[in-house]
Symmetry: D2
Subunit: 156 residues, 4 copies
């Protein structure tokens, strides 16, 4: 992730330990991202306390690469009045799948990844997700006590 919006500096997951992290991948021309994923990410940001839950948007695309630029994403964030930090995913020299999407094994947009307070990935979802279910899962994760950080498969 290189270009960021709604934040002074790039966010690193290692700096978010102790908080549940919601990583919401979207693409500005993807109907289900615009109709479901992005407004849900904003609702999650509005519903939970920043000290408990961090929401991070990730603009990512497998195709139409020539159509997207930081200018498009900047205008989109302005028009939709999005307030949560958003990164423009980096193209991947070796693959059509952008870097962060590949790292989290996302299959397309919208995608949602939940990372617990210890940095472990706990959920992957591709496509729209019910508000009730995702609310329940985030709510449950916020109640988990700090465990000893597991030795493996932590998410960076």
């Amino acid at each position: 992730m290189q270009t960021w919006f709604n934040t002074d500096r790039p966010l690193l997951l290692s700096g978010l330990r102790g908080r549940v992290v919601v990583l919401a991948a979207f693409q500005v021309l993807c109907p289900q991202s615009i109709g479901a994923g992005v407004p849900q990410a904003q609702r999650i940001y509005d519903t939970f306390e920043p000290k408990d839950v961090a929401v991070i948007g990730l603009h990512a695309t497998f195709e139409h690469h020539d159509a997207f630029s930081a200018a498009v994403l900047k205008a989109f964030i302005h028009e939709y009045r999005l307030k949560f930090p958003i990164a423009l995913d980096q193209p991947n020299a070796a693959s059509p799948i952008p870097q962060t999407m590949e790292r989290y094994k996302m299959r397309g947009t919208p995608s949602l990844v939940l990372i617990d307070r210890n940095g472990l990935v706990r959920k992957h979802a591709f496509g729209p997700v019910d508000d009730l279910r995702i609310g329940a899962e985030i709510g449950a994760l916020t109640q988990e006590t700090d465990a000893v950080a597991p030795a493996q498969s932590s998410a960076a």
Copy 2:
């Protein structure tokens, strides 16, 4: 509560200790009950495991008493394919407010009351509630460990 649907026998809160209880009050001719409260109660019932969360519907009304009967409620439950246990609240000899509504200090319909695993009332809501927020609250309550039952203000 006397007349019940979708259950073999009346439910008592004392029999539900260890589970989060969602008490959803509605009225079949109340637009916000039909448009928001009742479908949300069914979604909660469909989303959580019965061992974790019990959903109980309560048909209750302050007015139009002559319009309601067990036959109306029975037809409503059939037409809307509701699966969770539902009770017809009892009129109150001393007040226009039916008994269970008065006991839980509900102000009208739709109302939603959350009771934790120890039987304590943790939330009262009157009017529509966001799926995301109520999901988060129920999800958090399901993660609470069993505490020693507090000495006061327990919900029957």
Copy 3:
């Protein structure tokens, strides 16, 4: 039709010649009536001029007869703030299908019947209908010039 609401006196189609008539049949415990048919009837009433289009609601049921009464319908109309004239269809001694539903060959609720300015039935629909399409059909009918009344199949 015998019991009427939102009108001083029973309406007869013969008194509505020169106007397009929208006959909207519903049942207060029918999910698609409440979610689609009834609010659409109110929108039609709000959108067109009364001199051009008359909206008439018809409460009708094939079943749950014991659940319905004029008191239920009165409370429903009050709660949903419906403004258009509504009749409670009459039971039929010889059939489970109430009289007006049978006369217009309605198959259930919600049903919508469009009658042109000359009293001819022009459309039957059973189930939800798109706003755009029904708007177009009503709009077209309002533009028809008065024809000589056809000799047959006029709607009473």
Copy 4:
């Protein structure tokens, strides 16, 4: 209008006489265009016969000019599966308002202009429009008989 999609050649209003024309202006990063205007234009296209009603989309913007390109619009049309002819409005050397928007005195997006069978502008709307109302207006216009073409204010 110069760049066109979903049509073999540029459309001229003069070639559409005899049909009602719906001109729907939108912008791919405008929330109300994406949430209301564009899907409504597609519904209008799906509802009416092409011989009666022509739907033309116009991508137009007052700002974020650097964010838009034919590649963005092409990807958008593909992702949203839009089938009606769409033109990319031309920037205006003398004004921030693109040429077609200025010609039809549109105030922003979404905008909808109805042009009758004789080429006269009959309605301007800025912002979301009810399906029922726009359906009624289009339906009524399709019923108008061919009048003698008025001598003035025709829409090219």
